[in-house]
């Protein structure tokens, strides 16, 4: 009885699935899904390597400082960095007076209890990067976590910054309706191919204090490295803590295995 009941229940689910499968297959076979421009022309991030890659990688502080320079002089006009405090910049090699000077270049909104007004004051090291009032359309995302919030974060940012191009003729031929609308810019590394941000980097936009030539490629790489850091400033510490712990665990596990062999030595199992 129980067996018959279970077979009936089983048939209920399997027949329902077979029904879904059959109709789904029919639709799929008769009306194949139309390819879309995104599907055909979206590209995965370029291969690019950063000093912080891999289990042994550590941040290149010189590069992070260059990246910060690019952020401050280019990106900061539209993109905030709300999870990062100025004091954090000491971790990429700036000393205390330098951090104070950087902080003072930013205006921080402060609520004044006495007057009930929000006034802006010069930043101090304990302040966080201030919100950015963006007057244009859409709201540019906060960049603190951008490299963690995108697949293959660092290479994605780098590819996006260096990936602007004219829409391929091939695309327009097959998908005339996917023509980039006015006010948007074509970039195959962006998920839906068109984004509101124009190409932000131009040759020699920034004068690096360490004399590195500021090519678009260099700036894109540096700012991507900086944004990998802002997403996880503790990454170096994480990896440096990991190795001794893994080493110790390996040692302890070998001891544990030897002890296990010992205890079971006279016991066949």
């Amino acid at each position: 009885m129980a067996r018959i009941l279970s077979i009936l229940v089983g048939l209920f689910f399997t027949v329902a699935l077979a029904w879904s499968l059959g109709l789904g297959f029919y639709t799929w076979a008769t009306e194949p899904a139309q390819p879309t421009a995104e599907h055909e022309f979206h590209e995965h991030p370029k291969h690019v390597s950063f000093a912080s890659d891999g289990p042994f990688g550590t941040f290149d502080k010189q590069q992070l400082q260059r990246g910060f320079q690019v952020y401050q002089q280019v990106c900061a006009a539209c993109h905030a960095l709300k999870h990062v405090a100025f004091r954090d910049l000491e971790k990429i090699g700036y000393n205390e007076p330098e951090v104070k000077a950087i902080a003072a270049q930013f205006q921080i909104p402060k609520y004044d209890e006495m007057t009930g007004m929000v006034e802006t004051v010069e930043g101090t090291p304990t302040d966080y990067f201030p919100p950015v009032m963006y007057a244009g359309q859409g709201s540019p995302p906060d960049l603190s976590l951008i490299t963690k919030a995108r697949h293959d974060g660092g290479p994605y940012v780098y590819s996006l910054l260096t990936g602007y191009q004219d829409q391929p003729a091939e695309l327009l031929k097959h998908f005339p309706e996917a023509k980039t609308p006015d006010g948007l810019y074509y970039n195959p590394y962006f998920p839906n191919l068109n984004l509101a941000m124009p190409a932000p980097l131009m040759e020699d936009m920034v004068t690096y204090s360490d004399g590195t030539p500021a090519t678009v490629d260099q700036m894109a790489k540096d700012v991507s490295a900086f944004l990998i850091w802002t997403a996880e400033p503790t990454m170096d510490k994480r990896k440096q803590t990991g190795w001794p712990i893994l080493g110790f665990l390996l040692f302890a596990t070998i001891l544990g295995y030897m002890s296990y062999r010992n205890i079971w030595a006279n016991k066949k199992h």
């Binding site: 405090a85 004091r87 090291p125 304990t126 712990i245 110790f248 665990l249 040692f251 302890a252 001891l255 544990g256 030897m258 002890s259 010992n262 205890i263 030595a265």
Partner: protein, 177 residues
């Protein structure tokens, strides 16, 4: 003989394995304990700037330093004289007003607003609040009386109100911490 050595070696391995587990246990405890101590943002936010230009003689204001009140009092001449009239050696926590203020700024008494007994905020800094039997501050929780130099004179508190590290960055601005 060889048999005995074998046994000892085996015991040693077991002891070593258990010890390694113990070391691992201690290693796990370290981050679990230290995560509770002050975080980086709390430690970093430990200076406060106060504008004292509007504090008239005889008035006091409260500021916030490390999430706790600081009393900034502009002493009157009478209060300074009253504080100096006391023999410091006779006090529970012997200190003179000079030791508790900056040179040339003896009228600026800057102390933590935290009673040294159990941490209540003493009265006396606000307008119209009772100032205790010695004309300084009075802690209502357990009745500690502080004098015009914020020294403990009567009641259970063991120490004078603490003077934080501070400096005058200009004539009208004090940086505490």
């Amino acid at each position: 003989m060889a048999e005995e050595d074998g046994v000892r070696r085996r015991d040693f391995i077991n002891v070593a394995a258990v010890s390694a587990a113990g070391v691992a246990g201690i290693g796990v405890v370290i981050p679990l304990v230290s995560q509770m101590s002050a975080s980086a943002d709390v430690l970093a936010a430990s200076t406060t700037e106060v504008d004292i230009s509007s504090v008239q003689t005889g008035q006091a204001i409260k500021a916030i330093f490390r999430k706790q009140p600081v009393f900034i009092r502009n002493l009157t001449q009478r209060e300074i004289d009253a504080a100096n009239a006391v023999d410091a050696a006779s006090l529970r926590d012997p200190q003179t007003l000079e030791e508790r203020t900056k040179e040339g700024k003896t009228n600026w008494l800057i102390t933590m607003g935290v009673c040294t007994h159990l941490g209540c905020v003493p009265l006396g800094a606000g307008e119209g609040e009772p100032r205790g039997e010695f004309g300084g501050y009075f802690c209502p929780c357990h009745g500690s009386h502080y004098d015009t130099a914020a020294r403990i004179r009567k009641g259970p508190a063991p120490l004078n109100l603490q003077v934080p590290d501070y400096e005058f960055t200009s004539d009208t601005v004090v940086t505490i911490g």
